[in-house]
Amino acid sequence: MTSKNKSQSTDEMVSVERLIGRILQIGVFTSAIILALGLLLFLMNQTTGYPAGTHPKTLLAILQGAIAFKPYAIMMLGLFCLILTPVLRVVVSIYAFYKEEDHLYVVITVLVLIILLISFIIGYLGF
């Protein structure tokens, strides 16, 4: 990432970028751990927790199933977290540009986030 900013020290920019890198790593690791846990339970118990050929599709059903330690619900929860990681990427980028006092890119990145949220709503409502 190029540092456009002149008023702030490069050291501070580097630490902002490191913090962001750490947040992203935590997000991706968390998803991976949930995925791995679900897969292990599935393989060890040899059961999905659901009738054959079905899996939970709504967020409510997934959360309820995950609390009950049903393998498919935990696996779906992991997939959902993974889908959210690029969104996390966009959100922390807004913060990075804000810290760099790059207002043009704060606006551009917020715009990307809004378009993304619109697509999520379209997806959820199933147009």
Partner: protein, 282 residues
Amino acid sequence: MISTTLLLIAVGLFAGVAGAILGLGGGIIITPILTLAMGLDIKYAIGASIISVIATSSGSTVAYLRDEVLNLRVAMFLEIATTIGAILGALLTGVLNPSYLYVLFGLLLLFSCWNMIKKLRAGRELTTTVKSDKWAKKLDLNGSYFDKSELKNVDYEVTNVPGGFSMMFGAGFASGLLGIGSGAFKVMAMDTIMHMPLKPSSATSNLMMGVTAAASATVYFFNGSMLPQIAVPLALGILVGAVIGSRIMQVLPARVIRMIFVPVIFYVGLQMILKGFGVSFG
């Protein structure tokens, strides 16, 4: 069940390494394996392939605490075009006849392939030959990265920003409508049209395709075409593969990456043209 799971993890590992190096989603590797070799319905293969794209993107994002190769400004600016394109494409599914689009986008890829061969024949990777246009200056898109194979800092300028932006809209439109080829078109827009060096193009494409895929992933997640027993082992394999792949990418000479890229792009382009004429494989 365990053998299928292990096979999917292995396929994911391979797709993750390849995808992170080239800046492509795993779709071109994963869809044929799932549909042809494992006999999975195409509907579920697309669901798995969307998750693969996100896993490749996120896996290569976390390989480094600070990614000094990707260009975040280029990514976010162009992301406006791809996400709007992706939504429009998804909404127009069933309205437009996809045959023409397959042929059109396939030809574009073959053209890009030809361009890449020209760059290969020109010898060394050229990075300092273009002058940035006024858009690149206004939007502060020029960048620099440390090339770990040449062991030096490379400053670069980007040009033809409106052309790249339009191509990105097309890339988003194609991935929303046809569900394939998003990474290939993104690399093409940056490398061929905007004259960005190949490594930042690939890394930036990697970040962008995750965001674009997230835009359409919820549709597949909630309509039930993401099968956990398929998508989860694939995603786990890809996450690990992409971390490895993005580390390999940084130390590989750009020329070698381009040499791998050419046949892959040729294959995808040919596949799309054939699909446009009604011949389908994978």
